[in-house]
């Protein structure tokens, strides 16, 4: 119950923050720019619109995570607002889960808003039938942002906002090439293979959440892919938050 309260409050904080409104406006502006640039795309205007629209959800979402998520807990410690919360019957892991759920919820709302805007533009272009690939892509982008938010909250609970941003960005970038790293590991010498495979397993496999190429041509993915991605996101978030909670549990607030 208290996790829901913390999540509601974090959601309210994010919604009242100008960063989130800025993200929506920037997404809409990018969609508008894509329409301006469409005639120059040599017949690939539709592809450009879908690709840019979906990429902007992930990139702007990442920006919000880096600006807001990585200081989510650290800011509360620095401003000492956390004293008023943890001196109540609120277990520390529940507090972390609430923070993660609240920001993730806000990112889901913004992702859905931008996804709807993208679908609206496509409908105006006579491609209303693209709703299914757009919905699937937005769903996967939401999952990806949820995973990155979990990392940001974990780092925020243990480090300063600047370092948390760097770690989160590092994990995000490395996570995009997780499959490549795994392939590379198979061709690496034995001594290096185990290490690379371990790193590939620890990093979030974010390429699992990318179906922009399919969506750009109006194709959908399988239910199995969506289920696997959902399960993976839940499991990864669970592990990351458990690690964060274990370290946060013994932390002193001076």
């Amino acid at each position: 119950m208290n996790a829901v309260l913390i999540a509601q409050n974090t959601f309210r904080e994010a919604i009242r923050d100008r960063v989130l409104a800025g993200m929506v406006i920037a997404g809409l502006v990018l969609l508008g720019l894509a329409q301006v640039a469409r005639p120059l795309a040599m017949g690939e205007g539709l592809r450009l619109t879908v690709d840019l629209g979906l990429s902007s959800i992930t990139m702007l979402g990442l920006l919000v995570v880096l600006l807001v998520g990585t200081s989510l807990v650290a800011k509360e410690i620095e401003r000492r607002t956390i004293f008023n919360l943890l001196s109540r019957p609120l277990p520390r892991p529940v507090y972390l889960i609430g923070k993660w759920a609240g920001l993730s919820g806000a990112l889901w709302v913004v992702s859905a808003t931008l996804g709807l805007a993208l679908w609206g533009v496509l409908a105006l272009l006579g491609r209303g039938a693209y709703w299914a690939p757009i919905a699937q892509s937005v769903y996967l982008a939401g999952l990806e942002l949820t995973v990155v938010t979990a990392l940001a909250v974990m780092f925020s609970a243990l480090s300063t906002p600047v370092l948390s941003s760097l770690y989160t960005l590092g994990f995000f970038l490395a996570g995009q090439w997780c499959d490549d790293l795994r392939t590379f590991a198979q061709h690496a010498p034995d001594s290096l293979r185990n290490l690379l495979e371990f790193v590939a397993n620890v990093l979030p496999n974010l390429s699992l959440f990318n179906m922009r190429t399919l969506a750009a041509v109006g194709e959908t993915t399988t239910a199995l892919h969506l289920s696997l991605a959902s399960g993976y996101a839940l499991l990864y978030c669970g592990c990351v938050l458990a690690l964060g909670a274990a370290a946060f549990e013994s932390r002193d607030f001076r």
């Binding site: 009242r16 000492r80 004293f83 001196s87 109540r88 609120l90 002193d252």
Partner: protein
């Protein structure tokens, strides 16, 4: 009180608060079950270690203390004495290095020890994007008050601390005093059985301080236990059933205010007109001092048994005695003297080490 008479009073005061480790120990190592006390602390120690130099500093040393249910308990000490460390350990914000503590019978390691607890941190900070009602409703619900009741309680307590006409004002527009009042409301909005306040008078004007005093007394009448730290000793003297004095991380004394003040020994002041040309008898050189003021002379006697003899001597010297007034040491004087005594003791320990 002038500086000379203060110097005379200091030894008495220091004796009253002399280092008595056994007093502190017996305060916590009784056979009384933890459930009977509002707060029970046994052997609490906190050591801080610097991440860079690995140097350790002792914040709290083997603290043993009991606060009984329903009492108002003052927790005194100069800056760095370990007051805030103690209160933060009790409220789960710091982890003790060793020792145990219980709140209303529940060990502090369990979050359920904080269900019936209200806490006001020193210089409280709040979410500045919320308004007063939103914030109080939020914290009331965190402490287990159901939705509609939480809104009702939030409105009631916001009004009770004098902020009822600013329900919709966001907290970023609150003044320091208003934030302190909101913090107090947040500490009591869920009607706890134990309230811990860290410097509740800090940042408040005289009206604010009076309101806090009234609130503490009101809570005591409800049977709530209040434990608070403060630097404003007249308030402590006025409110507390008992006080604990902490110096350099160690408990120096636990006693009622009356015990402390009465135990320090009284003094008697003889106010006399003008500047009489008399020489103090050598027999009273240890207990009688003379202070010259603008239009009067003050003789201060620290041995009450000599009162009649001194008065008779003054009259015999044709001194115009205008008033004979018994004086009590204030808690502030006692506290200052004990702090000075402890500092001297620490310095001598360092020298001998």
């Amino acid at each position: 009180m002038d500086s000379r008479s203060h110097m005379e009073a200091a030894p008495d005061a220091a004796n009253a608060l002399a280092v008595r480790p056994e007093a502190g120990r017996s305060a916590g190592r009784s056979a009384r079950p933890a459930a009977e006390c509002a707060v029970r602390i046994a052997g609490l120690t906190k050591t801080y270690r610097s991440n860079w130099s690995l140097k350790t500093t002792r914040g709290l040393e083997d603290l043993n203390l009991e606060v009984q249910r329903g009492e108002v308990f003052g927790y005194l000490g100069p800056n760095g004495a370990g007051k805030t460390t103690t209160l933060k350990i009790l409220t789960g914000l710091l982890k003790p290095t060793s020792g145990s503590a219980w709140l209303l019978g529940e060990p502090i390691e369990h979050v359920r020890s904080r269900v019936r607890l209200g806490f006001l941190p020193e210089q409280p900070y709040f979410y500045d994007y919320l308004n007063g009602v939103e914030y109080l409703e939020f914290v009331a619900r965190l402490s287990g008050v159901a939705g509609r009741e939480a809104v009702k309680a939030a409105r009631h307590w916001l009004g009770r601390v004098g902020l009822g006409d600013r329900e919709k004002l966001v907290l970023r527009k609150y003044s320091k005093g208003m934030l302190q009042r909101l913090g107090l409301a947040a500490a009591v909005v869920h009607e706890p059985e134990l309230i811990i306040l860290d410097e509740p008078m800090s940042g408040l004007d005289p009206f604010g301080r009076r309101d806090v005093r009234d609130l503490i007394l009101e809570q005591r009448e409800r049977g709530v236990t209040v434990m608070f730290s403060s630097h404003i000793l007249p308030d402590v003297e006025m409110l507390c059933d008992r006080v604990a004095i902490l110096l350099r991380g160690r408990l120096e004394r636990v006693a009622t205010v009356g015990e402390l003040v009465d135990g320090a020994g009284a003094r008697i002041e003889f106010r006399c007109a003008g500047a009489p040309l008399v020489e103090l008898p050598s027999a009273w050189s240890n207990c009688l001092t003379r202070t010259q003021r603008a239009e009067e002379t003050l003789f201060t006697l620290t041995d009450a048994s000599q009162q009649q003899a001194v008065l008779a001597w003054l009259v015999s010297q044709r001194v115009d005695v205008r008033a004979v007034t018994p004086q009590r040491n204030t808690l502030e004087e006692l506290f200052m003297a004990a702090a000075e005594s402890s500092a001297i003791h620490a310095a001598s320990e360092r020298r001998s080490a």
